[in-house]
């Protein structure tokens, strides 16, 4: 299980533009880090670099607790971006079941995720018929269905109403209390205590 994420001298370049360089910080087990910064500062790119989807121009991302970085990524992290990764033409049940099983969930995990995020009424609807907030809840359900140590969340609460922001805050707190790590790009403050790291300051 990932116990520490260490970001050292990271620089990310998109095309000709250098988004940031010399970025150093760590996320320890039980800790949440809120990435802040202007639009286009590179918060999403940083999350994708930690997930290994984007090659940084310089610097490294290290994971303590798992030998191999690729294995750490394949088995130890969830990335939920502003694209939910849900197909409009399929039912929420099919999409959730695929995303959760793909990341290692079993039937019990799926059931508990559907219950925690109160998806029972939504599961038989096509994803295109869900509101933005409901879609996000379906996407977030995989965090509960398939427990993984590191959560990389890109504006996770943006489409949610205040009730659900509180409740997702509860899930985050429980994840951290269980030794999880969280790195979230946010504009609004998270509903839980988090260390802020400003990107592109």
């Amino acid at each position: 299980m990932i116990s520490l994420v260490q970001i050292e001298a990271l620089a990310i370049r998109r095309g000709e533009r250098l988004l940031f360089e010399h970025l150093d910080f760590t996320v320890a087990a039980g800790e949440a880090v809120a990435l802040t910064g202007r639009n286009g500062a590179g918060k999403t790119s940083l999350l994708r670099a930690v997930a290994g989807l984007l090659r940084p121009a310089a610097g490294t991302v290290r994971f303590a607790g798992v030998e191999d970085a690729d294995e750490a990524r394949a088995t130890g992290l969830h990335l939920i971006g502003h694209l939910d990764g849900l197909k409009g033409g399929r039912t929420a049940r099919e999409e959730l079941a695929f995303a959760a099983r793909w990341t290692g969930a079993d039937a019990a995990g799926l059931a508990s995720a559907a219950e925690t995020l109160e998806l029972a009424r939504l599961l038989d609807l096509e994803v295109r018929k869900l509101s933005a907030g409901q879609r996000r809840r379906v996407a977030l359900a995989r965090l509960v269905a398939a427990p993984r140590a590191l959560w990389l969340l890109d504006e996770p609460l943006a489409p949610l109403d205040s009730v659900w922001r509180e409740r997702i805050g509860g899930l985050m707190a429980a994840h951290l209390a269980g030794g999880g790590l969280m790195l979230a790009a946010v504009h609004d403050p998270l509903p839980i205590p988090a260390r802020a790291v400003e990107i592109g300051a």
Binding site: R48, G52, R101, W102
Partner: protein, 221 residues
């Protein structure tokens, strides 16, 4: 259930759910094989000679049809991120996607090929060779086509780009298959052409997932 099996089932469900599975490709295939004789002329003798070739070439063209959405739809909605972060390597993901593409369109087309050829007047005794050709060929077309689809990720008018990338790579199997068919038609069995086609298909299945995965990584970066 293994994650790759879950993925295969999802890909097949997606192919059937949205695109109607093999139906558009089959309709296109039926269209070409009906229109070509109208253009060439109705003399049965002439048609019978070119029937296996028409059935074979139309298969190559029909294989191009649904390639555009193979990776693009997953790239657009963020699913490709999820697929890249699962347990199995991206190469295996790409191989499964291409396999599903073959099962959903290539295999039905391969089974339709001898019917079309015999309908156009090819001797029924050629049907086994045509089926073998079409099975190996459509498998290779699906994998090579997947490579084109992955390379075209993120570009506008990707469908056109896929055709431009993939059609030159379709040339060797079309030649091998065509050779096998004409050998068989002249009573020589057609084994050598089939073997070459099989070898080409095996190489395509083995190597193109590597290229597909590299192209997908590039598109995600």
């Amino acid at each position: 259930m293994s994650p790759l099996l879950v993925l295969l089932r999802r890909e097949l469900a997606l192919a059937w759910g949205r695109g109607g599975g093999p139906l558009p490709a089959l309709a296109f295939y039926a269209g070409i094989t009906t229109l070509l004789p109208l253009a060439i002329g109705p003399e049965p003798d002439r048609l019978a000679v070119i029937a296996p070739g028409i059935a074979w070439l139309a298969l190559a063209l029909a294989s191009l049809l649904s390639l555009e959405r193979l990776f693009e739809r997953d790239h657009e909605d963020g699913t490709l991120d999820l697929l890249a972060l699962g347990g199995p390597p991206l190469e295996a993901v790409c191989a499964v996607k291409a396999l599903a593409q073959w099962l959903a369109t290539g295999l039905p087309l391969a089974l339709a090929a001898p019917v079309a050829a015999v309908m156009l007047g090819a001797p029924p005794s050629l049907a086994p060779v045509i089926v073998l050709c079409a099975l190996a060929g459509s498998l290779a077309f699906a994998f090579v086509g997947g490579m084109g689809a992955a390379l075209a990720l993120g570009s506008r008018r990707g469908g056109l780009l896929i055709a431009v990338i993939v059609l030159p790579l379709f040339a060797p199997p079309v030649i091998f298959g065509g050779g096998a068919l004409s050998q068989a038609a002249s009573g020589l069995g057609g084994t050598s052409g089939l073997l070459l086609l099989g070898a080409w298909a095996a190489v395509a299945v083995a190597l193109s997932p590597l290229a597909m995965a590299a192209a997908c990584r590039n598109a995600l970066d």
